[in-house]
Symmetry: C2
Subunit: 387 residues, 2 copies
């Protein structure tokens, strides 16, 4: 069998492969990116299954519409109106099989082989994978502490056939960094001059445990703004529910065609259940609990780093989300550290898969949401011993 060029180019998930090694019982793993399972509202979701079936019967089990369950889209639109002041309506919202599928659909409808995609460097691995299927040219733009490097962004925008910019403005994966208000405004101004879409992927935005929420970069301002959201980090990832918000109707129509061809529609059972959950529970209170949990875990990791890490290892201090990003300023390759760390039974993700143009990097991603403060301290201590 001869396989397609696109699949031969697409990296299999480095992280998923790493997880196979790091999943051993006695390893302390900061490698995953999983929400803490104690944050799942299991009892409430179970009640919502019952209630949704009682009210809607066979409609939970039948084929359904490609754009998604209307009341769920209305709920999402109302929330973005209320919380973010955006002029969005149910027809601007499109439900996807997790926001991973949103990335894949956007690539499909916008990218011809060789077209340009501007991506944060380092950037979200899942996005790199999804976009690679369309065989694009990646233009990496350095992610600084307050957002994209503006000069590099302008230069990248002047490259031929650039279709979109992909950003994670809040508590970015992998770095935990958040774009500043000033950078957001500057980026919006720059992007407005070009015929490109601006994707803001915001799965973590609600999980802010420090500082003030900031307005989006382009949503509500740029004609070709695409906002992505997800229920994976605040309700449940297992049900694979994400969404796209955009006012560009032509784009949404193409996305609908691509979605029909990809999986017809998103699991409608889960759409009914999540909608019922959102309509019947105090979601804000629920999210507050997750925030308190993650703040505690993030504090534990930062405190341990402060105590144990040598001075040549720098790290980010996230205001929310799930990740801390560390840099070995002495240039030690993260892959070397990884191998030694596995001997010490502690794991993380070496930075390499998050770059489209660099290898053997001296950075690493550490997740703090899936271990207790005590275990986090012990893991960081072990890791520090080999840095």
């Amino acid at each position: 069998m001869q396989y397609s060029e696109r699949i031969l180019k697409t990296p299999s998930s480095f992280i998923r492969n790493i997880l196979k090694v790091t999943d051993a019982e006695d390893v302390i793993s900061f490698a995953g990116g999983l929400p803490n399972p104690i944050s799942f509202p299991i009892d409430a979701l179970r009640a919502s299954v019952d209630h949704a079936i009682t009210v809607n019967g066979s409609r939970l089990f039948q084929y359904s519409s490609t754009q998604g369950y209307a009341p769920l889209r209305e709920y999402i639109a109302a929330k973005y109106q209320r919380v973010h002041g955006l002029d969005v309506h149910a027809d601007d919202v499109f439900i996807t099989t997790g926001s991973q599928q949103a990335l894949e659909l956007i690539g499909k409808v916008l990218i011809n082989k060789g077209d340009g995609i501007i991506i944060e460097e380092p950037g979200y691995l899942g996005a790199i994978q999804a976009f690679t299927l369309t065989e694009p040219t990646f233009h990496g733009v350095t992610l600084e502490n307050d957002g994209l490097n503006l000069e590099e962004l302008e230069r990248a925008l002047q490259q031929p056939n650039v279709k979109f910019i992909y950003t994670v403005p809040n508590f970015q994966n992998p770095t935990g960094l958040t774009y500043s208000k000033e950078k957001r405004e500057q980026i919006c101004e720059i992007v407005a001059k070009y015929d490109v879409a601006l994707i803001e992927d915001d799965p973590y935005g609600e999980l802010r445990f420090q500082g003030e929420p900031l307005p989006y970069i382009g949503a509500g301002k740029l004609e070709n703004s695409i906002l992505l959201g997800s229920f994976s980090k605040t309700v449940t990832p297992g049900m694979r529910l994400g969404f796209i918000i955009t006012k560009n109707k032509e784009l949404l129509q193409h996305i609908e065609t691509a979605k029909q061809a990809s999986d017809l529609h998103t699991n409608i059972f889960s759409q009914y259940v999540i909608y019922d959950y959102l309509a019947s529970n105090d979601y804000t209170e629920h999210v507050k609990k997750i925030i308190a949990l993650y703040k505690n875990q993030s504090d534990a990791m930062l405190d341990a780093m402060q105590e144990f890490f040598p001075a040549h290892v720098e790290y980010t201090r996230p205001e929310g989300g799930m990740f801390i990003w560390a840099t070995m300023k002495d240039g030690t390759p993260a892959l070397d550290v990884f191998n030694k760390a596995m001997e010490q039974k502690v794991a993380f993700v070496p930075g390499d898969p998050f770059y489209t143009s660099k290898t053997n990097v001296n950075t690493m991603r550490l997740n703090y949401t899936n271990a207790t403060p005590e275990v986090i301290r012990e893991g960081i201590k072990r890791l520090a011993s080999i840095l």
Copy 2:
């Protein structure tokens, strides 16, 4: 915004667009392809939700493996061993977001722009859509009453860069036709001479209400056999669960990479629930009830056609599944009939979207699974009045 060539080429679902017109209350619609909702085992699935959560807790709600829930894959493998005598194991089974996604993933990993795909003419619209995203060259091979035309198949196989053949061997969509035992053997012999994959998409195979089950064309025989199955027609389509069975490990590995990039993994909540349902209920008895239901509906449609249709309209007599295919031997275009039929408040799908190389055809697809025998009779009577 400039959109990709692939999406501009991909037809949006003709059927889904038609459904918007035909969904009016007073229209008798044979246009859909929906299972009868009374066939969904709602109470048993509801009990399985409860039981699966009680037993497995947060695992239903967390991220999960890309290839799918192991016990579900084991169940499927054991069933194909038992029922079809195939030497398949859990590792040969890969869970997808409905079998629509299986089609899309296979296209992704095998097709470069311009590569050949051999497809039944007429063929399944969802497959045409999914494959079109990879910009292939379609080689249509006439589907005769007993399967593909063998001369056309050989000729198509000799075209450059043909990657696979797509078939629906049992109660095909759209025609309701089933490949004969002889044709299956002849096709297997022919295909064995070429380095191509043979896809057998079999969502309806269990819904046989007449005749004897037949062995697959290539499964268990051809090295590059790909068998597709689904729970959409026998349990519930709303949960979007399909699967791929193949012994080709390299192919499965590429499919895993494509799936990671597409939606990470299939809804794990639904995988636990469907597995629990299968393990806790008499599935065979359940399917028998659907078969009795559909046989009754199929009989009603065939009887009414016999009574009301003019002699120049021929139609297939399916041994199972969900569809009858009618041909206006006087050459009347189905699209003309469709417009007149809508005036009579009866709907069907004109044959056009099922062909990759013909338009304005004189064929139409009629679904009988979603109306009572009385309504079917009335609908066919109305339709006959304009034929």
